[in-house]
């Protein structure tokens, strides 16, 4: 059995085997309607769980005489992604038909973009992989060849819903016509980690821009790496044939497939000596269960898609004004925010990453900071008390109900020693269900610490006079400070947790040690 995750131990010592990976990433855009018609879009969260073949209309079904009409929102969302990837935007862009017969493709051609893609020639800096939790300034530039807009196909199913066996195939066209942005990179990746970092970044960008939910399990974002290995042995260079892995829809599969191919291709070269040549490209699939890739198509079939301009659609010209309007919608991107959080706010990488994973959480955090709260304490509170509530309510931290102002108040109460840290968390919870001032809520629920000397003296005197405490009192008098803990515990008990422990300590020390 081949190893599930490849390690270089299979590659002989005298060989330098450099991975060379390019990526095609498909992102389903979450527009309300489909790419070329008004039918609702499966990739929009309102329609995630639609019954099969209910998101259809005559255009989706490819009926006779119907015509496509371009979805402007899909074009704008694609341009946003293109701009985020530093691409140039083609001012003249057009649509072409890509022909092949398959039952999930209603017209038996896909409307795509051949020679005038919407976006081209971009690049993005990915973090050079860093295992530790320290911020790293090392980056690697990944060049983007193009990003073009097309329509997704439907789905062919080989068993009935519920897993029932059938002797034929059935088609679900809900996905057919969903706007699909295909992003193609140069083969700039030299490790699976880099490919993963890029895809994570791209996913964050798409989610941040609100162009796609990028839910992996729903296939909103799918990866197709093109992999080969440049082998150097005894001063000679050998390039293995390129392998394309189809339709990966998890980071784990992407990483696993690339690492697996790294070793497999070297082993195959050692065995057969086969190197890259025209027509040597093959297609493989990823077997998630066994962690291996399996051959799907031996030779890149001389697939003739017979591309030609779609005569039903006019080319789209993108004016300066339109581009400016779209550019204005561009928020600061997650990776730029990450840099700010780590460098300027001094957040640990892990916390910063957790905050930027969701746009709304990120905005919420920044709102709290803009209230004048220390970023580190805001982040800590959101990622502890906040994450706990979000988890309980199964929602985002930004949706748990607490107001940024209340967070500021809680932190002030802490700073003024009016509440303790346990009370702060409890108060945080209360704020999630109330718009009232935090202090008012603390008061109503008896969370404020008693700092009044008279009241504290009463509690302390009661404790000191308690015969069971005699030993502890003696110890403290003799300088054994650790015994104070027992006395404080008793005071807290008497005060029902409201005594300010700092003050109590001070008073006890004053009484017994001065």
């Amino acid at each position: 059995m081949p190893p599930t995750t490849a390690t270089t131990h299979c590659i002989p010592q005298d060989i330098n085997a450099q991975l060379c990976v390019g990526l095609e990433v498909h992102v389903e855009l979450a527009t309300r309607s489909k790419m070329f018609t008004n039918a609702p879009n499966l990739a929009h969260h309102h329609h995630y769980d639609a019954e099969p073949n209910t998101l259809c209309d005559p255009v989706v079904l490819g009926m006779p005489g119907v015509l496509p009409v371009i979805n402007q929102d899909a074009v704008e969302k694609s341009i946003l992604v293109g701009l985020a990837l530093d691409c140039q935007i083609n001012r003249f862009t057009k649509w072409d038909r890509k022909s092949y017969f398959y039952p999930d493709l209603p017209k038996n051609y896909q409307i795509s973009q051949y020679d005038k893609p919407l976006c081209f020639g971009g690049s993005i800096d990915i973090p050079a992989h860093d295992e530790t939790d320290t911020p790293s300034d090392t980056t690697k530039k990944i060049r983007i060849i193009r990003a073009h807009l097309e329509e997704d196909a439907g789905k062919l199913l080989h068993e009935a819903p519920g897993g029932k066996k059938i002797d034929h195939s059935i088609v679900d066209l809900n996905r057919a016509g969903t706007p699909l942005l295909e992003i193609v990179t140069h083969p700039d990746f030299t490790s699976a980690d880099q490919a993963l970092a890029f895809c994570e970044m791209l996913r964050n960008i798409c989610r941040f821009l609100g162009v796609s939910e990028c839910v992996m399990q729903r296939g909103h974002i799918r990866f197709e790496p093109n992999i080969n290995v440049i082998i150097e042995r005894a001063g000679q260079i050998h390039k293995t044939p390129i392998v394309e892995i189809k339709n990966l829809n998890s980071f784990k599969a992407l990483h696993g497939a690339i690492e697996y191919e790294h070793v497999r291709q070297v082993e195959q070269w050692l065995e057969t000596g086969q190197v890259m040549s025209s027509g040597s490209k093959s297609t493989r699939g990823w077997d998630d269960e066994h962690g291996v890739t399996t051959l799907q198509r031996e030779k890149e079939d001389a697939h003739d898609y017979r591309y030609f301009p779609d005569p039903d659609l006019l080319p789209v010209t993108i004016s300066d004004e339109w581009l400016e309007t779209i550019q204005k919608q561009m928020p600061q991107l997650p990776h730029d925010r990450l840099r700010k959080y780590v460098r300027d706010y001094h957040l640990p990488n892990k916390q910063a990453n957790a905050l930027i994973a969701e746009r709304e959480v990120c905005y919420f955090f920044e709102e709290v900071v803009s209230e004048g709260v220390d970023p580190k304490r805001s982040a800590a509170m959101l990622l502890n008390s906040g994450a706990k509530r979000a988890n309980e309510q199964n929602c985002l931290i930004s949706d748990i109900g607490i107001q940024p102002k209340q967070i500021k108040q809680i932190i002030e109460l802490l700073d003024e020693d009016k509440i303790g840290s346990n009370a702060a968390d409890e108060l945080f919870g209360l704020c999630c269900n109330s718009k009232s001032d935090a202090e008012q809520l603390a008061q109503q629920h008896g969370l404020l610490q008693v700092s009044d000397h008279g009241a504290l003296n009463d509690y302390i005197n009661q404790v000191l006079e308690n015969p069971k405490m005699t030993k502890a009192v003696e110890d403290i008098r003799n300088g054994k400070n650790q015994a104070i803990g027992a006395l404080i515990g008793q005071v807290m008990k008497l005060s029902k947790g409201q005594a300010n422990p700092k003050l109590v300590t001070e008073i006890i020390k004053n009484k017994l040690q001065s």
């Binding site: 005489g65 039952p103 209603p106 030609f308 005569p311």
Partner: protein, 493 residues
């Protein structure tokens, strides 16, 4: 009989109904009677919606529905989707296809009060020039039933020529309105590409297809165009151009009219009757004070080759959707997916459609694309430039619609190239996107048992120049009255 269909026009009927001189029910019934009597020998209609038409006529008469075409019966070429009946394209593969939507052109007619009488025969998927390539039999020319009516909109042309309907819709990809209009002796207009929405018109060649009207007079087609035209959000290639008025100013002659007479259209191959009709038209216009000058359209000779590459390439892609998976004919007992595709399409399509799918697939194939499709697009631009240049000097181009009158049924079916040459004077207008109108220009002489057959001429105009083009055609029509002739139909048993 009041308002006898054989002696009236669509505009007259419209006015008579509006003035309550007759009723829509009466008019519709008269046409239905004629369809019942003459359609069996002509095969113009493949579907007739008698009950539905009469019900709508009743609603018009009671004032429920109004509009510029209130109460007027119309025939629709059966490649436009109607939510009733079938939309077959005269193909086995769509024999039972019921569209759940309506073509915008049909919707506009109905919104204007028109009544759809039925759907007319065509060459399968509009591919042909004789209406012989129909899965539902050949349509016959009412002037001589052993002659073809032209095509592909032969059914619509015959419906009007034989007075089975006062007006009809056709579609014109390379001449499919103008050529059958010419061969049947009626007026047929191909509007500018983008003038009429293509939504719901089953595509043959998307960049060339255009819906247009048939009727007996220029005035009738002008009125129909006024209703049909306009931008449509469902068709990105439709254009928001000024919509006439086409009918109101029709009788206003064009001052200082300049007509171009293209050398390339005056070949020796033209039938003497065609050459005679052009000569007569030149005389007529000279008599009206027009300037007529020969014009050079040098790329005309590449028109047919260019047209048959562009049209078949687009068709090969447009017709890919008929695969037996979602609708339409599906072969029985297929072994696997490929077998299902192959047998459904082999059984569903006729020979001419298959021929064009293969030609078009070839033209788009890698290795041939540049030599055929790409080059065709370049020549298409040159043809367009020829016209652009001509229309800087001329208001319109005067030329034949076809090289000759109707030919005999079966005469060209075994020679596809001879059949394709029928489009020689019409296809360039589609490549350039410009409007063209064919109007009756007399008849062949009947001798030695040869029947008397219609001869026509064509006017071509600049993009969106229909208003002026119609006025020019009307000048000729008013001066000649060729449009008044009607065929004598054999009485049914």
């Amino acid at each position: 009989m009041a308002w006898n269909p054989t002696q009236t026009t669509l505009v007259n009927l419209r006015n008579a109904i509006a003035a309550s001189q007759t009723t829509s029910v009466q008019i519709v019934q008269q046409y239905l009677d004629r369809i019942e009597r003459y359609n069996p020998q002509l095969n113009a209609f493949t579907q007739i919606f008698a009950d539905q038409a009469l019900q709508r006529a009743q609603r018009i008469d009671t004032g429920d529905l109004a509009g510029p075409l209130a109460g007027i019966p119309i025939a629709i070429k059966d490649n436009m989707c109607t939510p009733y009946g079938r939309t077959t394209c005269s193909s086995r593969i769509l024999e039972n296809f019921a569209a759940p939507y309506t073509a915008t052109a049909v919707e506009k007619l109905e919104a204007a009060g028109a009544i759809v009488l039925g759907k007319t025969n065509l060459d399968e998927f509009a591919m042909g020039s004789s209406t012989e390539h129909s899965a539902f039999g050949t349509t016959r020319n009412p002037w001589s039933t052993d002659h073809v009516p032209g095509g592909s909109s032969g059914g619509s042309a015959v419906a009007v020529a034989a007075d089975l309907a006062p007006g009809a819709l056709g579609s014109d990809t390379g001449g499919s309105i103008r050529q059958p209009a010419a061969l049947c002796g009626v007026v047929g207009l191909k509007p500018t590409y983008g003038r009429v929405s293509r939504y719901g018109l089953v595509a043959f060649a998307s960049s060339l297809d255009q819906i247009g009207p048939f009727a007996h007079t220029v005035g009738d087609v002008a009125l129909l165009l006024e209703v049909l035209c306009g931008p449509d959000p469902l068709d990105s290639t439709s254009v928001d151009a000024p919509a006439g008025p086409f009918h109101a100013n029709l009788d206003q002659p064009v001052d200082g009219l300049r007509l171009g007479l293209p050398n390339q259209y005056l070949s020796d191959a033209n039938h003497p009757s065609v050459a005679g009709a052009i000569d007569e038209a030149v005389e007529v216009f000279r008599g009206l004070g027009a300037q007529i000058v020969e014009v050079d359209l040098p790329h005309t000779e590449y028109g047919i080759a260019t047209y048959y590459i562009v049209a078949t390439a687009e068709a090969s892609s447009n017709l890919a959707r008929y695969d037996g998976v979602r609708y339409g004919r599906r072969a029985d007992d297929t072994a696997d997916m490929i077998d299902l595709y192959c047998r459904s399409r082999s059984q569903g399509f006729g020979d001419e459609v298959k021929r064009r799918i293969m030609l078009g697939t070839y033209a788009l194939s890698s290795g041939y694309y540049d030599a055929y499709y790409l080059r065709a697009l370049k020549v298409r631009r040159l043809i367009k430039q020829d016209f652009d240049g001509a229309f800087e000097k001329f208001d319109a181009i005067l030329c034949p619609t076809s090289t000759g009158p109707a030919f005999k049924i079966g005469e060209k079916t075994s020679n596809p190239l001879a059949m394709y040459l029928n489009d020689i004077y019409t296809a360039t207008a589609n490549l350039a996107g410009i409007p063209g109108i064919s109007i009756p220009a007399g008849h062949t002489k009947s001798h030695n048992g040869d029947p008397k057959l219609p001869v026509s001429i064509q006017f071509l105009g600049p993009l969106f120049g229909e208003a002026r083009l119609l006025r020019i055609a009307r000048m000729y029509e008013a001066a000649t009255n060729h449009h008044l002739a009607r065929p004598e139909l054999a009485q049914a048993d």
